[in-house]
Subunit: 169 residues, 2 copies
DNA sequence: ACAAAGATGCAACTTTGTTGCGTAAGGGGG
DNA sequence: CCCCCTTACGCAACAAAGTTGCATCTTTGT
C-alpha cells in the first residue's frame, strides 16, 4: 500500500512506461481455458458464466457495459449477469471502469492483473465519437511517490477524446 | 490539444507537480460574486441557480452528488437541478467526476480551470470509508508526451482508498 | 413595461442497479 | 452413479439516476 502526503512530499509519480502500446488480442477463448479460469478462481462452471467470459474475451481490450454483454448473449438474465460480473470482479478475473458515461464498463484482466490485491493499473481511453472504452497497454506505475495520510488502494486514469480509428476519418 | 501515439513515443507524462496539497477554502460566496459569475458565463441569474452555486461553494474541494445538493436545498426541483448542473458544466463553472460509485459528483472549478476548452486536470480522491470525493490541489500536467492518433481532450485521474481523516482513526 | 428567450416544474418514462426468495444446478463424498 | 449440500439462477419487486416533452413562469434587453 502506498501513502499520500501532499504536504511533505512531492506528488511526482514519475511515469516511466517501458511497454509500447499494443492492442491486445480479441482472442476467443477455448472452452477448456474458460473452465480452467473459473476453476482457478474457485467459481462454479455454469453455462452463463462461461458465456460471459467468452463474450469478454472476444471484445479484447475494449471494455463493454453490462447491457452490451446482455445483448451479445440474448439468453442471459439481467440480474444474473450483474451477479456474475460482481463475482468476476471480486475474483480478479475482470475489472470495471467508470469512464464518465454513467455506465460501468467491464474488461478482462490481463495476466499481470494479480488476484486479491488486484489493481487495474493501466490507462483507459474513452472515445466520445464511437462511444467505446478501451484498455491501453500502458500501466500506471505503482511506484508513485505517494506520501503519508492518504491510503491509496486503487487508481483510475481515464483519458477521453477521439480514438485513433475515429480520428483518421 | 495533445496527441497520443503509443507506438512511436514513450508515454511519459513526466509529472512535475509544483503546488503542494492544500485544502481549498469552503468559502461561502457573496451574492454579488455569484451574480457576477453567472453574468460572466452568460447564464441567467435565478434563485435556483444562485442557490446551487452557493451550495457548491460551501462544500469547497469536496465534490457532491446531485442528490446531496437537492437535500441541502430542499426546495429545488430534481430535474431543474440536473439541467442547472449541465449548464454549469457546459459553461465551465463546475466539473463532474466519475468516482466509481455510479453517481456523478460535482465541484466548482477553480480559477485555473479555463472556460471553453476547460479541463479538470487535478487529481480526485475517493474515500471508501466516509464515501466522499474531494478535489486534490494537484494538477495533472498538460505537458504529457501524448503522441499522434489519439486526440486527448480530457483526463480524469481518480485515486481511491482511505482519506487522511478516516485513516487517522 | 413589453416581448422574446430562456428557465422552471410537473408528468411520464428509461436505464441502471439492488434485494429477497423459491427453484435449479454444480460438484464433492459415498 | 446417486445423494446432498452449497451455490447459482431467474423472477418479482424495488430504488435511484437521469432524460424528454410541454405548459407556465421568470429573466433580461429594448
Amino acid at each position: 500500500m502506498a501513502f499520500l502526503d501532499f504536504n511533505h512530499e512531492r506528488f511526482k509519480p514519475g511515469f516511466e512506461i517501458t511497454s509500447t502500446f499494443v492492442v491486445t488480442n480479441n482472442y476467443r477463448m477455448k472452452d477448456t481455458e474458460i473452465t480452467n479460469l473459473l476453476h482457478n478462481a474457485n467459481l462454479r462452471v455454469t453455462k452463463s458464466r462461461k458465456e460471459v467470459l467468452q463474450a469478454l474475451s472476444e471484445t479484447g481490450d475494449q471494455a463493454i457495459s453490462s447491457n452490451e454483454i446482455e445483448q451479445k448473449l440474448s439468453e442471459i438474465d439481467r440480474i444474473t449477469l450483474y451477479r456474475i460480473l460482481k463475482a468476476y470482479e471480486d475474483a480478479g478475473l475482470v475489472h470495471s471502469i467508470a469512464d464518465g458515461t454513467g455506465k460501468k464498463k467491464y474488461a478482462m484482466c490481463s495476466s499481470n492483473c494479480s488476484e486479491g490485491d488486484h489493481q487495474d493499473n493501466h490507462v483507459h481511453f474513452y472515445c466520445r465519437v464511437c462511444d467505446t472504452t478501451s484498455c491501453l497497454n500502458v500501466v500506471i506505475p505503482t511506484n508513485l511517490k505517494f506520501p503519508t495520510n492518504y491510503l491509496v488502494e486503487e487508481q483510475q486514469f481515464v483519458v477521453s477524446g477521439i480514438c485513433k480509428d475515429c480520428h483518421n476519418q
